[in-house]
Every structure is written in C-alpha cells, then in structure tokens.
Symmetry: C2
Subunit: 245 residues, 2 copies
C-alpha cells in the first residue's frame, strides 16, 4: 500500500535524525497533536501504534519533528494534514513538555497542540490500520509520556469548552441541542438538566435556527441549529469574571 510505505519511510527518517541529534548532543523539537473526535456519544482521540520496540503495543500521539524553516504553528497544521488530510480544523497550543528523559532515542522537547475534528463529517482517510480512534476515558498505558500529555490536554479541554465555543468543531455544521448536550455531558462527565442547558445556550445568543429538522431518528425530530460565529465574535469580552478559587 502506498500510504503505508510512505509512512514507514518517514519513520525511518525520524529515527535516523534522532540518532544524529543524540550523537551531536542537539535537542530536537517536535509537535505532538492530541486529535479529539466525538462519536457514539463518546470523546475519542486519534492514536497510532508506537513503532519503537521499547513501547511495543503502546499507543502514541501523532507527532513529528519540526522543520528548520517552518513556524511552530505551521508544523502543527502540517502534521495534522499529513495524518488526517484535514486543514480547516480547530487547533490550539496547549503545553510544552521538556523533561530530559522523555524520549528514549534523543533529547526531544515537544510542543503539544489540541485539535478537535468532526469524525463523521470529515471521514478522514485512515487507510493505515495502525491509526485508531480510541476512547479517552478507557486509555491506560501509552508510549513515551503521552498519557500524561493526554491527561493534561483532556483537562484543558474540559475547562476550555466551558469558556469558548470549541465544542462545535466536534459536531456537524448542523446539530440538534441533544447532540450538543451529549457532547458536553460526555466531555465533562456530568449530567445536565435539559431545560437549563437550552436556556443557557439560547440566552448566550450564539445559535441560529437552520429551519431544518433531524431526519432518521426513531422519535420526534429536533430542530437543527448552527453556531453563529459572527454573533459570538461581536460579544464584548470582560477582564472581570469574579474571583473564585
């Protein structure tokens, strides 16, 4: 398979580079993408089987070394594009990990980005069967320090989704309020009151009625909404939220 051999050769390349870095005493810089998706009412993360003997059968995040003449953000978009074929996606830097022993082959400092994509809509080309959507909540061991990275990104997401409208990136353009609520309930692991949830979103005034309804549901169909980014943008941001800790 073409895709597979391309990936294989890329990996050999990485290993060679890392070896070289290590012998020259140079610190490598990589980007690791934590790619979240939402499917079957569960939060998923896109992982790949580690190719290192040291981490046999362990899952790892999608990452790569950055290029010398490439902005850091650009590297993140590139990696995402290479692995998923997508470029119109939500992507945000979360944290940088730089402990000395975190990569066995060489000293590598990695900058972590979170990406949120809509699994259904994009139907990314997972030709390569080493790629896998894994449930976030039932993930134990991972390669490198990737479990720790994932945990931090998941916490980041839980917090972030309550303050910024990133959740919509995980849903189709048109969605029902039930889908939206399921998303929040899954990510935050809470049960929310349906009426209060609706009231809250309507009062925030960021949803737009598409005039369409759900189809193919075995019950009364709900209205479909879309996120109105312009309205959201126009809202004024406050520096004062209230002290609470």
């Amino acid at each position: 398979m073409i895709a597979e051999s391309a990936i294989t050769s890329r990996r050999k390349n990485i290993k060679t580079i890392l070896k070289q870095l290590e012998s020259d005493g140079i610190i490598g810089i990589s980007v690791d993408c934590v790619i979240f998706g939402f499917d079957e009412n569960e939060l998923k993360v896109l992982l790949i089987k580690s190719d290192l003997k040291r981490f046999e059968d362990k899952w790892s995040l999608l990452g790569d070394l950055i290029n010398n003449h490439e902005d850091l953000d650009h590297a993140a978009y590139r990696i995402l594009k290479e692995r998923t074929g997508l470029d119109d996606v939500y992507l945000e830097q979360v944290k940088t990990f730089g402990e000395v022993g975190r990569h066995p082959a060489a000293r590598v400092v990695t900058v972590t980005y979170c990406s949120l994509i809509n699994i259904q809509h994009h139907q990314l080309k997972i030709l390569d069967n080493e790629l896998h959507w894994h449930r976030v909540t039932t993930l134990n061991e991972m390669a490198f320090d990737h479990k720790k990275i994932l945990d931090i990104c998941y916490e980041w997401l839980q917090k972030r989704i309550q303050e910024h409208p990133l959740g919509f990136s995980l849903l189709p353009k048109k969605f029902s309020l039930r889908e939206l609520q399921n998303l929040y309930e899954a990510i935050l692991d809470v049960k929310l009151d349906r009426r209060n949830f609706r009231k809250k979103f309507f009062s925030m005034d960021v949803l737009e009625d598409t005039g369409e309804m759900e189809t193919d549901v075995p019950h009364r169909p709900g209205k479909l909404y879309r996120f109105n980014y312009e309205k959201y943008q126009k809202k004024e941001r406050k520096t004062w939220f209230g002290i609470d800790f």
Copy 2:
C-alpha cells in the same frame, strides 16, 4: 563589578552559540521569564536592556538557552535564580513561541514562563543597572517579539489570578485586605467594591487572621492576614463551572 563581568561573558557566550546554531541549521530552545512584581500599587515586570544592536535601547525579557541535560522547568528556575537570586517563587509555563523570524541571530523557539515575586520582601540584588522594574501598562516597544509575549502573559495573569490564588506571591506573607484589593484592582484594571471584595474572600475561607495589625500607616491600621494554603488545598475542585462564552 563582578556580577557585571559575569553577565557580559555569559552574553558573549550566547551570541557565539547562536551563531553556531545558525550556521549548522540547528533550532535553539530558550526559556524567557516574564517576572511580575507589585510595587506602589502597580504591576511591574523585570526587564533588561537588549544587548543586540538591532534592538538598541529596547527592553527585553530575561531569557537564556536551555542546557542539554536540564529539564525545561529546571531551566526556568535556573534562569530565575541567576537573574534574581530567588528560588522559592511562583513559576508557571504559559506558552511557546516558535515563529521562524522571531530572533534575528538564529532560529530560536522560546518557552515562556511567568513568575510572580514580591519585590519588597525579596529585595533582589539588582546590582547590574541594566535590570529594571518597568510598569506593565506603559510599555510600548520591546526587543524581539517580547511585547507580544508580555501581552499574552499579562492576559494570562489577569485570567489566572481570578481562578487561582497566585496573587499572594506578589504580596508580603502578611498583608491587609486593602493591599490585596489594590493588587486585584491594579492587575485587572477595575474598581472593586470594598465590602463585596472582603465578603468574597472571607466566604472563600482561605485567609487566616494573624492577630497583627498594620504599622506605620497614617490612619487606622487594618488587620493583617496570611493565605492559608492548606485550607485552599483541601477544597474540592469541580469540573463543572457553568458554560459561559
């Protein structure tokens, strides 16, 4: 002066290393510290005059390349210690900047850490007169992309201080409620109601009455409190704050 010559030689060293990195096509990794202090009811940041011709007379953050066998966090503490003599301080990673052209001498990716220190209490040894506490609000041009970095760190601080008790790091161990309120008002650039401010902090139950009073104030002295870290720690953290954006 001993301190000065040490710094000068260190800087030459950096320049040499950067030159070498650039000619070898290697990406350097640095840490930049945004060191906030609070004095005379104003938020200050510790800066140094840039030593690059390109940025003559511009202020820059305190930074250094990381060492090969040093954890990233450790590098941040080291730099802080080298520049201020302090090691028992609040320090937190904020964001990594990796645009290609951000450093004129070489490709350098920099990881930014925010540090909060109490200017009065520590009396750091600013022997070197190129070091300077600058008002955050009246800072225009800076060297490199440091103004952008500072802006982002300042926004980070404004948000963070409302959710976490980091503000206390900027105050003496014992402080009056007025001092605390001045701190919040200065950082957030808002006026707060004195009674509501007190009510809020007392209801959060993180302040401890020291039994002491202010001295040397030309008016009725206020009680002195200290932050009770244990009580704060014991509070349970919620994943659910409420959606709002």
